[in-house]
């Protein structure tokens, strides 16, 4: 005899529960987590390094680095004097909440501040997996072209803040800033968009100020 059982449960329920637990634990320690997402080479590590330097000195500042393989980025963060822990997925295309939960004990979370999570370079897969972060920061860079918001709508739609990086290339490319901003407005109206470059340094101070304001607001107990 056949019968139907209605379930109505999110497929990612297990991940989302761990993400909520991560978020609670970080908040209890006064920490704001930022999930940094972008295509490979858009400038995630460079931007994180600049923000680590620009954010208040007395705050905790650390990074969870996600890559398929290698510890290249973790070594850069450690050389700059900030704590960093590497996750290698060995082929996985995104970080998961469980991966974050498993590495949190490796940090000395002794004061309030910011924990950056540099996700795997990918404009598609990280969208579905909450990690327990407070903010989703999406980077798009000028050399990638101005059509990314309409080609990869989901990641731009879920962003809390969007950073256009490598603005120093604007003068040398046919990137249309209006087209880029219009595409963002169609998928995520009123999301803040910051224009930055890492080399030479530009726009970082304004972005850091926004991060401070939004982390303070979000991680209030």
């Amino acid at each position: 005899m056949q019968h139907t059982i209605t379930i109505g449960q999110s497929i990612l329920a297990a991940n989302n529960e761990i993400a909520r637990s991560n978020n609670r634990e970080l908040h209890e320690r006064g920490l704001c987590a930022i999930n940094v997402m972008a295509a490979p080479g858009a400038g995630k590590t460079s931007l994180i390094l600049h923000l680590l330097e620009a954010l208040p000195q007395e705050a905790f500042k650390g990074v969870i680095e996600g890559d398929v393989a290698s510890s290249v980025d973790t070594e850069k963060i450690l050389s700059a004097g900030f704590p960093a822990v590497q996750i290698n997925t060995g082929g996985g295309c995104h970080l998961t909440a469980k991966m974050i939960r498993d590495v949190l004990p490796q940090f000395q979370l002794d004061r309030s501040g910011v924990l950056f999570i540099e996700n795997i370079g990918n404009l598609i897969c990280p969208c579905a997996y909450d990690l327990g972060e407070d903010l989703k920061l999406v980077i798009s860079s000028v050399p990638e072209g101005d059509d990314k918001p309409i080609k990869y709508p989901k990641i731009f739609q879920i962003a809390d803040v969007i950073v256009l990086n490598k603005t120093d290339y604007l003068a040398h490319s046919d990137f249309m800033l209006d087209a880029f901003l219009r595409g963002i407005e169609a998928v995520n109206p009123s999301v803040p968009v910051f224009h930055v470059s890492c080399k030479p340094r530009s726009g970082i101070t304004e972005l850091a100020k926004w991060v401070v304001e939004h982390c303070r607001l979000r991680s209030k107990p």
Binding site: M1, H3, G8, H94, A128, I150, V187
Partner: protein, 115 residues
């Protein structure tokens, strides 16, 4: 997208939902928004491999897609977006800027069991 991880989550959910482990699951209905990025043939491939020797081994996987919508921010006109082709960022009625909404859900709707 990473259908292997999605297939594993589905299998886990359906096996937990089975009231009696002697029963067999004959149908699994998944609802996925067009922006959730699930490719059906990939999902079926991974699911059939993972479900071998389980109560879901011969289950038929049914994927019901939910469209996203483009809603004009000026006149409120609605167009469906089925996940492929261009995102029409301009309203076909008034030329105003559209807003992309919905199409992101991904949930296990129901299972059919026998036995």
């Amino acid at each position: 997208m990473h259908e292997s991880a999605i297939a594993a989550s589905i299998l886990d959910l359906v096996l937990h939902a089975l009231p009696d482990q002697q029963q067999r699951i004959t149908k699994i209905t998944i609802v996925a928004g067009v922006l959730a990025g699930i490719e059906p043939s990939c999902l079926e491939l991974y699911f059939s491999e993972l479900a071998k020797d389980t109560a879901a081994e011969h289950a038929e996987l049914i994927l019901q897609y939910k469209d996203a919508e483009l809603v004009c921010q000026t006149c409120g006109n609605r167009e469906t977006f089925q996940g492929r082709g261009s995102v029409n960022i301009e309203c076909e009625k008034c030329g105003g800027l559209n807003r992309l909404q919905g199409g992101s859900e991904m949930y296990l709707d129901s299972i059919e069991v026998e036995g």
